[in-house]
């Protein structure tokens, strides 16, 4: 009898112990994940605020390119100059206006359904200590991303994209960099300060999970599309959709060329979908082109030339091509 009565107690104890130990194991992992997400978000905002100048190595298609980079921010304008050092390329210059932080991608908790975020070990890049953060995809639709970030400033020293075979498809790494102090808060315009508040907030920007074909141009100008995805690969959302209409001279006379552009993103990877009226000279399907992490697919569907460009595996582009279709607007 004694044996019988002690059995349930033992079972209860062992279950409790099991639960406690599993909680102890799970909690640090979850805390680690939160830390990783926080550091990635810090990196996203700091890359806009910090001024920096340095040299970096960029590797794609097994080719190494050395680039010099200069990024400055005077509170009103941000300027980015990137110059290839080892070839005869001209510098790429981007001038960006203001602190448009509201448009910056942020990592939200929903992304943990498609990526697991891990804090890695400390490393040293360009003589500076940085923390490794890994975004590991939970499916085969995207690349594994590895970052090395300065925990204090949030500066990104190294970035690596790897495919399912653990091969590096794209990587950059600073070899020499000088990071300057961020712009003082009192020098940031009022409008920018409002945007800053949005970054601190953890809520994701309000975007429709799927384009709504019935939405009018007036009510949702950024989401209006004549096309929809049925369904999009898990985690991808329509971020922006817009149309351009132009005139072109063809054999049959002047025709109206309509181009629609839809931007998809899973928060870390983005895909641009261009839907255009196929021009007479450009009606042949194109093979998939790969350049580092970037893949490009172009093929006709429902009388339109559809081109997909994105830093995702080519199979993901094929999946999206298959699921895109004209919305029934009638």
């Amino acid at each position: 009898m004694r044996m019988k009565s002690s059995m349930p107690k033992l079972m209860t104890c062992s279950i409790t112990l099991g639960l406690v130990s599993s909680l102890l194991t799970v909690m640090p992992a979850s805390a680690q994940s939160n830390e990783a997400v926080a550091l990635l978000n810090k990196m996203t905002s700091s890359l806009r605020h910090l001024d920096y100048k340095g040299k970096l190595v960029f590797i794609k298609n097994k080719q190494v390119t050395t680039l010099s980079i200069e990024y400055s921010n005077n509170g009103e304008f941000r300027k980015e100059i990137i110059q290839p050092l080892d070839k005869n390329g001209k510098a790429i210059t981007r001038q960006l206006s203001g602190f448009t932080l509201s448009k910056m991608p942020k990592i939200d908790p929903a992304m943990e359904k498609i990526y697991s975020f891990d804090m890695g070990s400390m490393s040293k890049v360009a003589g500076q200590p940085c923390r490794t953060v890994i975004a590991r995809p939970k499916d085969r639709k995207r690349y594994l991303k590895k970052f090395c970030i300065d925990e204090n400033s949030g500066f990104l020293y190294q970035y690596t994209l790897s495919n399912q075979k653990h091969e590096v498809v794209e990587q950059f790494m600073f070899t020499d960099v000088v990071v300057q102090q961020p712009v003082p808060v009192d020098q940031i315009p009022d409008t920018a300060k409002q945007s800053d508040v949005q970054v601190i907030a953890t809520t994701a920007p309000e975007v429709a999970l799927e384009p709504n074909p019935l939405a009018s141009k007036e009510s949702q100008p950024d989401q209006y599309s004549k096309w929809l995805f049925d369904p999009l690969p898990k985690g991808f959302k329509v971020v922006k959709a817009e149309q351009n209409i132009s005139q072109a001279e063809q054999q049959e006379g002047m025709i109206e060329l309509e181009e629609e552009k839809i931007l998809l993103s899973d928060g870390l990877s983005s895909i641009s979908v261009f839907i255009a009226t196929p021009e007479e000279k450009n009606r042949q399907p194109h093979p998939v082109v790969q350049s580092g992490a970037l893949n490009i697919l172009s093929k006709q569907k429902q009388g339109r030339m559809i081109t997909l460009v994105g830093e995702v595996p080519k199979d993901t582009l094929i999946d999206i091509f298959k699921c895109i279709k004209k919305a029934n607007l009638e």
Partner: protein, 206 residues
């Protein structure tokens, strides 16, 4: 830093290092200050030798050669590293005639360098239009992302050989791809600078 390491760095810059070697070297560059400095210096030397747009390097002038020589002198062992001199490397067996061969190789390397500089100088003296006959202008396109107010066009993208030859030779298709890649790169990315890095690297080969 050993001569071997410098040879490997040189191979890395020339894109001749294998996958494993590339990873190993990049790991070492991260950890080794001296190696990182040498790498940065080699990149600078490469820039001076290859950039036609730089006014000083445009013509292989005496000043250019002097500054290059001065830079090479500062870099002790660079001349050795660019030639297969292995006298100080214990791990490599030296053949009896190696020193004589090394002397010949150094002589040949100097002659080849002079010839290369002459060709570079001649190319730089040629009109720009002749040098860039194959480069294709990118059709101007409306800026979709209103955050970006200016971005240079990707004027010299080389599309690689594909199964379909049309890709390789049709300038309209090439221009169209560049247009799409350019448009895609305009969007904000979590990594901030990566789209611009990609855009810059497209200029040096697709």
């Amino acid at each position: 830093m050993t001569i071997n390491k410098k040879e490997h760095l040189s191979a890395l810059l020339d894109g001749e290092a294998g996958d494993f070697e590339q990873r190993r070297l990049l790991d070492e560059i991260q950890k080794d200050d001296e190696m990182r400095n040498s790498y940065a210096n080699y990149a600078l030397i490469g820039e001076m030798m290859r950039t036609p747009s730089s006014s000083k390097a445009n013509i292989a002038s005496n000043n250019f050669l002097d500054s290059l020589n001065a830079k090479l002198e500062q870099e002790t062992g660079f001349i050795e590293s660019s030639t297969p001199s292995i006298a100080n490397n214990d791990s490599v067996y030296e053949y009896p005639n190696q020193k004589k061969k090394n002397g010949r190789i150094i002589g040949f390397a100097i002659a080849a360098s002079v010839a290369t500089l002459a060709v570079v100088g001649a190319l730089n003296l040629a009109p720009m239009g002749q040098q860039h006959e194959q480069t294709l202008p990118l059709a101007s396109s409306p800026i979709i992302n209103d955050e970006i107010t200016d971005i240079n066009t990707l004027a010299s993208v080389d599309i690689p050989a594909q199964e379909d030859d049309k890709w390789q030779y049709d300038p309209e298709i090439q221009a169209q791809i560049r247009h799409y890649v350019n448009e895609h790169n305009k969007y904000t990315s979590i990594t901030g600078i990566v789209p611009t890095i990609r855009a810059a690297s497209f200029k040096t080969g697709f």
